[in-house]
Every structure is written in C-alpha cells, then in structure tokens.
Symmetry: C2
Subunit: 232 residues, 2 copies
DNA sequence: CGCTGCGTTGAGCTTCTTCAACGATCGTGG
DNA sequence: CCACGATCGTTGAAGAAGCTCAACGCAGCG
C-alpha cells in the first residue's frame, strides 16, 4: 500500500496541474487518487453519466466527443499524458456533457469530486491553475465554434496543418498522430470530404501526403486558405 | 467617493458571483471596481485585445461574438444583468478570444486582473463559484458545437424554442427577446434561412409567429424535430 | 487466404447560402 | 402630420458546399 502511494505520487508530480506541490501534499493527493486502465476503444464515461470525479491522463490518449442521433461523431478534444478531463462535471456538479473513450491503451488517475474540491479550497495555487485550464478550454472551444460556423472545411484543415507545423518546430514534414477518420471528426466533417480536400491540396502542389506523413510545400498558400483569402 | 462606493457595493451584492460576501468584503471589492456605461452598438472589447480585467453586466445586455473574414457573425453568448464576461482573458492571461458589444444601453462593472486574482486567492468560496461558472460555459459551448456540427437548422431552432418554453414556465406563448437576425447568428445561420424555417414550422401547424411573439402549438413535434427523429 | 478496418473515388442529392427584390415598421425631420 | 430613409424581415431563384450511398483498393492480421 505504501509503495503504491509513492508510485502514484510520482505520477502526480508529472502533471502540470500539480507541479510545485510539496511531497507531503502529493502524498495526500495520492491517498485519494486511483489509477485506472483502459483498452483501446473502451469507454471511460458517457454523456449524461453522473460525474463523480475527474481524470488525468498518465499514459495514452483519450478522445472527448459527442454523437449525433445518426451516429456521426464530433471530437471536442484529444487529450494525452498530463491533461485532465471530465472536470466540468465536478465543478458544475452535474453530468458529463460529452463522452470519453480511450483511443489506445490508456492509463488515467481518477480523483473523486469531494476530495478534489477539498484540495482546491486549501490550495490557491491549484485553483488558479485550474481556472487557467478551464479558460484555455473555453478558448479552444471558441475557436472550434468559429471554425464550424464561419470557415469551410479547406480552411479548417489548413489551420490544423499550420498548427501542426508550428508544434513540430516548423519542420515541413508532419506526422499525423490520428487517423484520417478521427481527423475528419475533429474538424467537423466526414472522411470522404477530408480525403477529397487532401487530394485537392496535393493536386495544387500545396502538400504531399504519404500515409500518416504530410509534407507541406506551400505554407503561404496554406495560410491564405486558412484565413479565407484563397480558394482552390 | 464614499457614496459611490456604497452604491457600487450594493450593485456588487446583486451578482450571483458575490452573494454571501460580507459587507466589508463587498466594500473592498467596490474599491477596485469601476462602473462603465455603453450605448447600443458600442464595442466593449474586440477579439485580440489585451485582456486586463473582466466585466459583470449590471444593466442591459451584451453579445459575445466572432466575425468571419466576410463579415458573418456567430454569437457565442448573450449576457444580461448579473452575468460576468471576459474572464477567460483574465485567467489565461492573454487576449480576448472573441468580441463584445452592447446590444442596448448597458452598464457593467469592471474589475482589473490583478485585483480580481487577489480576491480569488483569499476567497475559496468565490473560487468555486468561478470554477462552476466556467464549467457551465464549457457545457454551453459543447452544446453549441454539437448543434453546429451534428444538427441541422430546424433542430437547432426547435431546441432553442423548447428551451425558451421551459424558461418561461411552460407558457406556450414565447416572447423572443432578441431580433430574428441575432437569433440567426446565435443559431449559426443567416436571417433568410431562419425565416424560411419559421414559415415551414408555421405551415405545418407547429407554431404561430406574430412579431416577437411565438405561440407553440405542437410541442411533441418540436421535440421530435429537436432530436432529429422528424423532419418537415 | 480471406477477413476486417481504413482510406479513396465517383455520382447524385440535400441543405444551406448567396443574391436580389420587396414589404413593413419605426423614428426623424420637414 | 406626412414623407422619407433606414433597418429588419420575408420570399424567390440560383448556386455552392458538403453529405449519402456505393464501390473499390489496400494493408494488417488472424
């Protein structure tokens, strides 16, 4: 039992949310945290479920998504190691507003609602981090809403690719870390449409695709498409 | 000066965020808060502006929105008395993710970033309220994303109307408190499309429109349309 | 070897937007 | 008091964007 807690505490220390916490505090947190494991495709929670706590990814990735009545999926987030999810239900005290599913073998730390609220109240630094994380998510959501409502699919793809280029230190060769289908769902479209647009970009010399590898050839053009000042 | 502060303190006490605060605390808050007035159509802040603080509506209404490069508008929120806005920029420390404009003569209390962060850190109750508010907004955004990505316009309108019915205590006569154009922008479409759908609903006996007054006649049908199990 | 999941391509169609015109309402100034 | 312009809402016709459905290729894996 002792050993398990120190292991957990070590994991907790990795999370941005908990950096700067004293070892004693980490031990306290570890005492109320549980480690949970999921297989690829396994559901973590479903929209509407009662939210009794929140999660932080320690290994693998989760997708947070909504389903339409016809089964179409809209991905809201893809979270990897260090990122928390399911907090909305904790603070707002109701059900989960979306579903979560492991995209690959995944491991997450779970902390119950009451325990976490207690932690927060005693820890102003933690509070501010949490507020800042929720704010960041609001910003991301606002961006997604803008995309869905005001931009066409080529623009969205262009924005996504430019973001990926930036994230990978401007190397023009990008490794897509999700499948085409998932990317389509993240961009609010379907695989067929996404595929057509990739082809169109390639036909116009904007990029070259090769499996999960995409080489960007014309960044200025991509920027023009992203902001809507050029069409293909 | 003294008088102004007590006036302000009285206003502050009305805000859900500050209910339960001691008179002394309210005075302290009032000392760092400013009252700002806006005319209909006046901009409060623009997307990208540096966010040095946040606002709480005390009179009138604001819309929070994004603009496309062609000038199309997507409304993210409409806020009335008691509701805070612009907090994202405070906690995340960057710029405003969207623009804000007064929809009518409006009055808002402004609190600077540093002051508010100080307040928060000394006041766990305030913290939790703030977390809960941000969470609620994330939930609302998730709903909007679902609408935009997974539902057609008739569904969105149906959902909106059902929500309004519920809000107005189930009287089937609804008073729309925003213009058609604004409603279109809130639902992620344009006035022409919205108008057509209202006509279609009316032609099928689902509702009767009369200016800003809408009388719902077939709630079950509206529910069916909202969830996508019926089309017109 | 066949199966299954994933990606691609084509054809047709639905939905929504665009563009244009028109009617109604309201506030203003003559 | 009326005329005027501005704003808003409505309606029609045409067009574009993206979705559905179906077929096929390809790779990985039992």
């Amino acid at each position: 039992m002792r050993k398990m807690n120190t292991e957990l505490a070590a994991k907790l220390a990795q999370f941005p949310l908990f950096t700067g916490q004293s070892p004693e505090m980490l031990d306290k947190i570890a005492a109320v945290a549980q480690l949970r494991r999921y297989q690829r495709g396994q559901s973590v929670f479903c929209e509407g479920d009662a939210g009794n706590g929140f999660y932080m990814v320690s290994k693998g990735r989760v997708k947070i998504f909504k389903l339409s009545s016809e089964g179409k999926e809209q991905i809201l987030h893809v979270f990897g190691p260090g990122e928390p999810f399911g907090e909305v239900a904790v603070f707002e005290g109701r059900s989960f507003p979306a579903s979560a599913e492991a995209m690959e073998a995944m491991e997450a730390v779970f902390i119950g609602r009451a325990d976490f609220i207690e932690l927060i109240q005693k820890n102003p630094g933690l509070t501010l981090k949490m507020l800042s994380m929720l704010s960041l998510r609001l910003r991301i959501f606002a961006h997604l809403i803008e995309d869905l409502s005001l931009k066409d699919v080529p623009s969205r793809l262009a924005r996504y690719l430019l973001f990926a280029v930036e994230k990978q230190k401007n190397s023009q060769k990008i490794e897509l870390d999700i499948t085409r289908g998932q990317l389509a769902s993240l961009l609010g479209t379907i695989p067929e449409t996404l595929s057509r647009i990739f082809s169109r970009f390639q036909a116009n010399g904007v990029l070259i695709t090769n499996g999960n590898e995409v080489t960007i050839q014309d960044i200025p053009m991509l920027e023009a498409i992203a902001e809507g000042s050029a069409k293909l």
